[in-house]
């Protein structure tokens, strides 16, 4: 299943509806649905944040393959930016020193079973893999 969404935060409601439809279609549970929603929100909002001038919509494809839910987010006209290579946020700092930046990618890296990044000719693709047996 594939959807295409304008690059703004207001798209999240439509994205969540799309993801819910994917979960229902594949007869998957609330647990994987929660993780899918969180991972897609974090990657989508990163794409919006780091490429606000992009003219094309961001596409999201969700497929069930070999016991895993494989989700691809594709953005166009973007410079290379691999979120998986960013310095991990320090979650052990005391309250007054904690900063919210980097928390989203930290959550994604800890909660999904696989994250892959590919960039070619201005097109970035981030692939998230979630095992359905989780």
């Amino acid at each position: 299943m594939t959807g295409s969404f304008p690059r703004n935060i207001e798209s999240l409601d439509r994205i969540f509806d799309f993801l819910h439809e994917c979960i229902v279609t594949h007869s998957l549970g609330d647990s994987i649905g929660f993780t899918l929603k969180l991972a897609v929100e974090e990657v989508f909002t990163n794409m919006v944040k780091y490429n606000p001038q992009g003219r094309k919509e961001i596409s999201i494809t969700v497929d069930l393959k070999d016991g895993s839910l494989v989700t691809r987010l594709v953005d166009h006209e973007v410079v290379p930016f691999n979120p998986a290579e960013q310095v991990d946020v320090d979650i052990n700092l005391p309250l007054e020193q904690r900063r919210p930046g980097g928390l989203g990618i930290h959550l994604v890296q800890k909660m999904v079973d696989g994250i892959q990044y590919h960039h070619d000719n201005g097109v970035s693709t981030i692939t998230l893999t979630l095992k359905t047996t989780r």
Binding site: E96, P100, L107, K110, M111
Partner: protein, 94 residues
């Protein structure tokens, strides 16, 4: 959609989804909280890093004045998110 309610006892309840599209509303509300308060998350179904950021900012502001948010009814995957982000050490969770 996020629903915010305040009970007669001053307890705050967040219900629904605390995602990036709702973070500003949650932040605007929490910015009005000036004393220690209980935040009941019983019916919160979802939270992302944007929501965590709102809670973090509120807790930092309150703690600077010797106050704090206490969280109640943090269950299931919301609790997992708190644990992974190590927010379980930043808040008293009942």
């Amino acid at each position: 959609m996020l629903t915010i309610e305040t009970g007669a006892n001053g307890e705050i309840t967040f219900s629904g989804s605390l995602d990036a599209s709702q973070a500003d509303r949650a932040s605007d509300f929490l910015n009005t909280v000036e004393d220690s308060a209980v935040l009941n998350l019983r019916d919160l179904e979802y939270i992302s890093s944007a929501g965590l950021g709102v809670l973090l900012a509120a807790q930092q502001r309150l703690q600077a004045n010797g106050k704090a948010l206490k969280l109640t009814n943090v269950s299931g995957q919301i609790r997992d998110v708190f644990r992974i982000a190590r927010f379980d050490v930043l808040f008293e969770i009942e």
